[in-house]
């Protein structure tokens, strides 16, 4: 048998009392895609960090191309041919494509940008059949998918032989995902070894040759991707059989209209949105990234300016209002990016919870009451934390999301606008979030949910509408939709 390109054996790593990795083996061959699966906190990122030279393993060894590989720093790893593409693109937006790609390379002589480097960038883009990207364009003008391509090119420019892609599609629309897979296949043909990390199991099944599942720091399953089913994976990842991730929502909403939007347009997007949300209803909005879904929620909640249109909440009608006003009206929003906007990461859990509705009288806080309240939400939502006073940035993605949701519940809003509520959240927490949503609407609350993940919309919504080029289609009951028709409607086919 051929020697693997990368071989990690018996990797062990502990942080204090937390055993992050226990005797993990991982192999990647040249020209192979390995799907690395696991819930948040299962140890995937620790494994990648060890590979990328951020942490050293406590024990175990790594071999690259048959030679011992012991990186002392991320730079070391990069020089050895390991490239990691993170969830959040790490490009400098004000620089051009070419500048970003050569940034940090050692042959940048005396800080001057050389002609042959631009040529090298062109060559890399050609290799990926992406000549359409102009090396002299500023990165800020590129879409999410093109940025991802630039990151890949940067990795190639460093002669990467092992490429780690960490949730590469989480910021991409369906169409861009197709492009990305095309790219992955091309890289595979060039004998690059790829470690592909994703929560989107369907995607892993499409793109991976083999898979490795981690749970609580240990490898619990591996094999050929084509032999495994998604149900197997979910079982291995969560350690339990999930009969149905999506809860039963047999109760159809019968309530009055609580929110009605007419002719709503934002400064840039959306162009035209009309719909009614009923009491007790989960209303889904599908659509591609950049179609105006997120922008619509932001306009509705007052985070982005409204150009024209009417929003009727209860009995009051307005032409857009600030977030503060919306919260007073009982509308809450969970934003797409909890790291940048959703949470104050360096503040504690209880502070984050107190921001929208502080436990206060005459402007003076009662921390005791706030802590009790926070502890209540920690228990109810099963937030894994050391307590109300833990800094939110130290929680895992799924638990951070629960804190953001807890804030809405603590505020006791009646209408919840959720933008990608399960992005970057593991399967177990996803199921809990869905159950919570169904729970909330059965208490008479209403939910507006935007998601790129179609099975989720089909799984929890009562009605779904599709946003396309800034216009919202009319809503139809979920039973009348399937993934194909949603997708067709989103990309503009006949439906």
């Amino acid at each position: 048998m051929v020697e693997p390109l990368l071989c990690m054996t018996g990797i062990d790593k502990a942080f204090g009392s937390t055993h992050a990795l226990i005797d993990v083996d991982l192999e990647v061959h040249a020209g192979e895609v390995l799907g690395l699966l696991g819930e948040n906190g299962a140890g995937k990122s620790t494994l990648v960090k060890i590979l990328a030279g951020v942490h050293g393993p406590d024990s175990g060894e790594m071999r690259l191309d048959g030679l011992p590989y012991r990186p002392n720093s991320p730079n070391d790893a990069r020089r050895s041919g390991i490239a990691v593409i993170h969830q959040e693109p790490s490009l400098a937006p004000h620089l051009t494509v070419a500048e970003n790609i050569v940034l940090g390379r050692e042959d940048l002589r005396a800080g001057f940008f050389l002609r042959d480097q631009r040529e090298m960038v062109r060559a890399c883009l050609r290799r990926l059949h992406r000549q359409d990207i102009d090396p002299d364009q500023r990165v800020s003008g590129l879409g999410a998918a093109a940025r991802q391509i630039v990151e890949v090119v940067r990795a190639l420019a460093f002669d990467a032989r092992v490429l780690v892609m960490d949730e590469p599609t989480s910021a991409l629309g369906k169409q861009d995902v197709v492009q990305l897979f095309e790219l992955v296949r091309r890289l595979r043909a060039e004998n690059v070894g790829i470690i592909y990390i994703s929560h989107f199991l369907e995607e892993v099944q499409q793109v991976a040759d083999r898979y490795l599942v981690l749970r609580d720091g240990a490898a619990v399953g591996h094999g050929d991707a084509k032999d495994a089913t998604i149900e197997d994976w979910i079982e291995q990842m969560s350690g339990r059989r999930i009969e149905d991730v999506y809860p039963d929502r047999s109760r159809e909403p019968v309530g009055d209209v609580v929110l009605s939007v007419r002719e709503l347009a934002g400064a840039h997007l959306p162009h035209r949105v009309e719909f009614d949300l009923r009491r007790g209803e989960i209303f889904g909005i599908a659509g591609l990234c950049g179609s105006g879904r997120t922008e619509f929620l932001r306009c509705l909640f007052g985070l982005d300016p409204v150009r024209r249109g009417e929003v009727k909440i209860g009995v009051t009608t307005d032409n857009g209002a600030a977030p503060r006003r919306r919260l007073q009206q009982g509308v809450g929003m969970l934003v797409e990016d909890r790291q940048v906007e959703g949470l104050a990461l360096d503040r504690t859990l209880v502070e984050n919870l107190s921001l929208s509705r502080p436990m206060a009288r005459f402007g003076w806080l009662s921390w005791r009451a706030a802590n009790t309240e926070a502890q209540g939400w920690i228990d109810r939502l099963g937030i894994r934390t050391t307590g109300p006073r833990q800094v939110v940035g130290d929680l895992s993605g799924g638990n951070q999301q629960k804190v953001a949701i807890a804030r809405l519940l603590h505020h006791d809003v009646d209408i919840l606008c959720l933008d990608e509520p399960t992005r970057g959240v593991d399967v177990g927490s996803k199921a809990e979030i869905y159950r919570l949503m169904v729970d909330l609407v059965s208490q008479g609350k209403s939910i507006l949910i935007v998601s790129s993940y179609l099975p989720e919309l089909l799984g929890v919504c009562h009605r779904i509408a599709v946003m396309r080029r800034g216009e919202l289609s009319s809503a139809r009951p979920t039973a009348e939709w399937d993934e194909q028709s949603l997708l067709a409607s989103a990309v503009g086919g006949a439906s």
Binding site: F15, G16, T18, L303, A322, P323, R324, R326, L327, Q328, M333, V335, V340, E341, G342, L343, A344, L345, D346, R347, E351, N352, S354, L355, S356, P358, A360, G363, W364, L365, W367, T386, Q390, V391, D394, R407
Partner: protein, 320 residues
């Protein structure tokens, strides 16, 4: 990980105190006969007052992620306005109110300009630095105003009013204000919002915090403290001096930063800033006592500012 984190927090909280103890111990060993006297303690404490009071308002601003470069000029303006009011009305209470009020006015203007024009605080307050200084000179006709400050003079007396008070009234005022401001920062909604805005302004907005209004309040508060510091400056010098406190805003910012404040917002504490102000005052006092030239002291303070922040960064970056 949690253990590391606790250690890190502890370090950040205790760092300024350790610095204070070190500086104190150094001079206590070098020149105990001059340094460790009641008289000298009273001197040092009184010298701390103005920077410390300026630093209280600045602490709020820095925690919210802003900066106010105009406090030095506001202090000068405060001293001039207090002296002028004293001259025209002869009433010390009105003079105090006027001095404090004019600082507050500068702060309100700063806040409104920052939030409505969308110009960064650095630039707006840099502008105010010039405007307030110029206004002070205009009001004072470019002269020192030699006006009898009445009972205002006694505020900054070095000796205590009663022996049991140990230090002068200005020092008491400083401690009482510090406690009050610390309570506001820790237990009021305003304090919570101050930290939230500095930590993540977008989140604050998302949660319905009135970000603009809060900022205006914070800059006004900083102005009120600066105005008060101006009145105290008048009390100390017995003149309203439009050219006083030039560059003092930098000492004030240094005190906040030495005390653990972060110019990127979200971090800082009143006790830390107070300790920072004390460190600088003791250094100044001690260097004079051991007859080091003034430039040595300037270099030392410069080194300490950078070292304090570098240590903070270093601890913050430690694995965890």
């Amino acid at each position: 990980m949690t253990a590391n984190l606790r250690k890190r927090e502890l370090w950040t909280a205790l760092g300024p105190y350790l610095g204070l103890i070190l500086v104190f111990a150094f001079f206590a060993v070098r020149v105990p006969e001059y340094f460790l006297t009641e008289r000298n303690f009273q001197d040092v404490a009184t010298q701390t007052v103005i920077v410390a009071i300026g630093a209280m308002g600045m602490t709020f601003i820095v925690i919210s992620g802003g900066i106010d470069l105009s406090v030095g000029s506001q202090i000068a303006l405060g001293s001039v306005v207090a002296a002028l009011t004293m001259k025209t009305t002869g009433n010390a209470a009105i003079a105090i109110a006027a001095g404090v009020g004019v600082g507050g006015l500068c702060g309100v203007l700063n806040g409104i300009l920052i939030t409505s024009l969308g110009v960064v605080p650095f630039i707006v307050t840099l502008g105010m630095l010039g405007v307030a200084r110029g206004t002070a000179k205009f009001l004072a006709d470019e002269q020192r105003l030699n006006v009898d400050p009445g009972f205002i003079e006694s505020i900054m007396a070095k000796q205590p009013v009663f022996d049991w008070m140990l230090v002068g009234p200005g020092v008491w005022l400083m401690f009482i204000l510090a406690i009050g401001a610390a309570v506001v920062l820790r237990y009021s909604v305003l304090g919570l919002h101050t930290y939230a805005i500095g930590s993540n302004e977008a989140t604050a907005r998302l949660c319905g915090v009135r970000v603009k209004r809060t900022k205006i309040v914070l800059y006004s508060l900083c102005g009120l403290f600066a105005g008060l510091a101006g009145v105290l400056q008048y009390s100390r010098l017995n003149v309203g001096d439009p050219t006083t406190a030039v560059g003092l805003e930098l000492d004030i910012i240094a005190a906040v930063v030495i005390g653990g404040g972060s110019l990127s917002g979200g971090a800082g504490s009143l006790s830390g800033s107070l300790v920072g102000a004390f460190i600088m005052a003791i250094l100044a006092n001690g260097c004079t006592l051991i007859e080091l030239p003034n430039y040595v002291q300037e270099i030392l303070i410069g080194v300490i500012i950078v070292a304090a922040v570098a240590l903070d960064r270093f601890r913050g970056r430690s694995p965890g």
